[in-house]
């Protein structure tokens, strides 16, 4: 019985790769062992058969097209390029997500605190409306400011002691030379009352589109924040109605700028809870995104109620800012940090698409 070593020696002997001494020793064995000798002959015959095995005919020509020459030199379709694109996409996605969640965390942090505060400060909507109706002054507001206030109104905060959300808004939006105009309270009250009755279920034409937007917004906000009570729910709706119909600030000016801003940012944070990525992308596409402060990312922006609102409420807009609050305008827009993650994600998508396309091209080249 031959061993593996015997077969290796036989194979080496056939190929003449044994050393002189090895060969001599092996030839002695071949003479002495007929089995080994027979095996050698059969193996040798096998090798000869293999040596003479004719090549097969290629089923087709494998000549290369000129396109291979061109494409082969393209870095664009190389594996490296695809890999780099994919890596860039992943990094951009990660960075965008990180920045986005970071922003969200920082803005949503005050929500719970503010919600509790608003619950504590909540007063009846009638009171607020009465006070608001008491003093009205018309002041055309800038579109973007209205957007801001409108968003701020979504805040379920009802400041204490007659200081409505409107106050905050007026402070925020007050122009340098506010002028008091004849009281428009009849219209306003009717409208506000309607707003209260409807309780967020859409507003009539006098309520304007601006009111509609908040109502939609409010529903979403409530869905997201379970802690919001009915009272809180009603409060912002009336506030919205007030703005929509005839916003009227009370005389009280307790709310300072920081609180106003806090309210606005809270509105932003609250309304930002439910939106999907798509909504966020849409909001960035809006031209107002760059001009509107932190509230820009709220889905209400996509409705852009400001235009309608300005038209319908222009004569009834009110503003009685105190000297202390007059200069208090929103800080320069902080949209850059908000838009950046979206921009990064968008870039990531682009890189991902490039990676997929180059991979597809390469695969097509192979086939």
């Amino acid at each position: 019985m031959l061993t593996d070593l015997d077969y290796e020696l036989l194979s080496a002997y056939i190929d003449d790769t044994l050393s002189e001494s090895e060969r001599t020793a092996f030839e002695h064995r071949l003479q002495a062992e007929p089995e080994l000798s027979r095996e050698l002959e059969e193996l040798r015959a096998t090798v000869t058969l293999l040596n003479n095995l004719p090549p097969l005919k290629a089923p087709r020509d494998f000549t290369l097209d000129v396109r291979y020459a061109r494409r082969s030199s393209f870095f664009f379709t190389s594996v490296t390029f695809s890999a780099l694109s994919t890596a860039a996409a992943i990094i951009l996605f990660a960075l965008g997500t990180y920045l986005f969640t970071g922003n969200k965390a920082s803005t949503s942090a005050p929500v719970s605190g503010q919600a509790a505060q608003s619950a504590f400060f909540a007063t009846s909507t009638e009171q607020i409306l009465d006070k608001a109706a008491a003093t009205t002054a018309t002041e055309p507001l800038l579109n973007e400011v209205i957007v801001t206030t409108n968003t701020a109104l979504n805040s379920p905060i009802v400041p204490p002691d007659g200081v409505t959300a409107n106050d905050a808004i007026i402070q925020v939006t007050s122009s340098p030379q506010p002028s008091s105009l004849p009281n428009q309270s009849p219209l306003f009250q009717a409208d506000a009352a309607q707003a209260t009755d409807v309780n967020g279920e859409g507003f009539d034409s006098t309520g304007s589109a601006a009111a509609l937007a908040p109502s939609d917004m409010q529903q979403r906000t409530n869905e997201a924040t379970q802690t919001v009570t009915n009272e809180q729910y009603a409060a912002p709706m009336t506030s919205s109605g007030a703005i929509g119909g005839a916003p009227a600030p009370s005389a009280a000016q307790e709310i300072d700028a920081t609180e106003a801003e806090a309210n606005a940012s809270m509105a932003f944070a609250a309304t930002q809870l439910p939106p999907t990525g798509l909504a966020l992308l849409t909001s960035t596409a809006l031209p107002t995104a760059s001009t509107v402060p932190s509230a820009t990312d709220t889905p209400t922006l996509t409705l852009t109620p400001s235009v309608t609102m300005t038209n319908t409420t222009q004569p009834t807009e009110t503003a009685t800012p105190s000297p202390t609050t007059a200069p208090l305008v929103f800080q320069p827009p902080v949209t850059a940090p908000d838009a950046l993650p979206l921009l990064l994600v968008l870039l990531g998508v682009i890189f991902l698409v490039i990676a997929v396309i180059t991979t597809l091209i390469r695969r097509r080249n192979r086939s």
Partner: protein
């Protein structure tokens, strides 16, 4: 059988400069051998054609890595690698290659050598060649590759170690096992074979 191209180095130089016609001349010269190598390693004609095509594309793209020496060995190295790639791909997505083994398909038979005199001889020779292909296909992949590179394509041990990345000892061991395997296989395949087989064996 393996006739060297007289102007092979000139064609390679021209191909390096982007002359596709020069490269395609090389392709046409080597395509049967590359396809044969691929077929014998893979045991399946469609995969072999894919591997051969991939090998020539890869060869063109990596032509600047050719550092002289045997162009055929360099080409076979690339072809063997594309075959291994193809084997890995087939392993992930197995296909029914059994009916496509040599001998099962008349159209797949090897090209007939030109020096066959009579139709009987031609038929016997074709039958034998088919049996050999079948026996090669029955070997393990590693043994198959070494056997084909060594005994069918006539490459040296050193070239085979370069191509397969295996050590010299491993190559020798695989080769001896592969030869023994084919010998055993041929002895068992058909009644027809022993006479032809011994005829060949006696001739040497």
């Amino acid at each position: 059988m393996v006739s060297e191209l007289q102007n092979e180095s000139a064609l390679i130089t021209a191909a390096l400069r982007g002359n596709m016609t020069a490269f395609n001349t090389l392709v046409l010269h080597y395509q049967d051998r590359v396809y044969s190598l691929a077929y014998r390693i893979l045991g399946e004609s469609e995969s072999a054609a894919d591997a051969a095509q991939d090998a020539f594309i890869a060869a063109y793209r990596r032509l600047d890595t050719y550092r002289g020496g045997s162009f055929r060995a360099w080409l076979f190295r690339i072809a063997t690698n594309t075959c291994y790639d193809e084997l890995r791909r087939l392993k992930r997505r197995p296909v029914t290659a059994i009916e496509d083994l040599p001998g099962a398909d008349a159209d797949d038979g090897p090209a007939l050598p030109a020096d066959i005199a009579t139709p009987e001889q031609a038929a016997q020779q074709a039958e034998l060649a088919r049996a050999i292909e079948q026996c090669i296909g029955s070997l393990q992949t590693d043994q198959r590759a070494v056997l084909v590179l060594s005994d069918v394509e006539g490459l040296s041990y050193q070239e085979i170690t370069d191509i397969t990345g295996a050590t010299l000892g491993t190559v020798k061991s695989r080769l001896s096992r592969a030869r023994a395997g084919v010998r055993n296989c041929l002895g068992n395949v058909q009644e027809l074979l022993p006479s032809m087989y011994r005829l060949k064996g006696d001739a040497n």
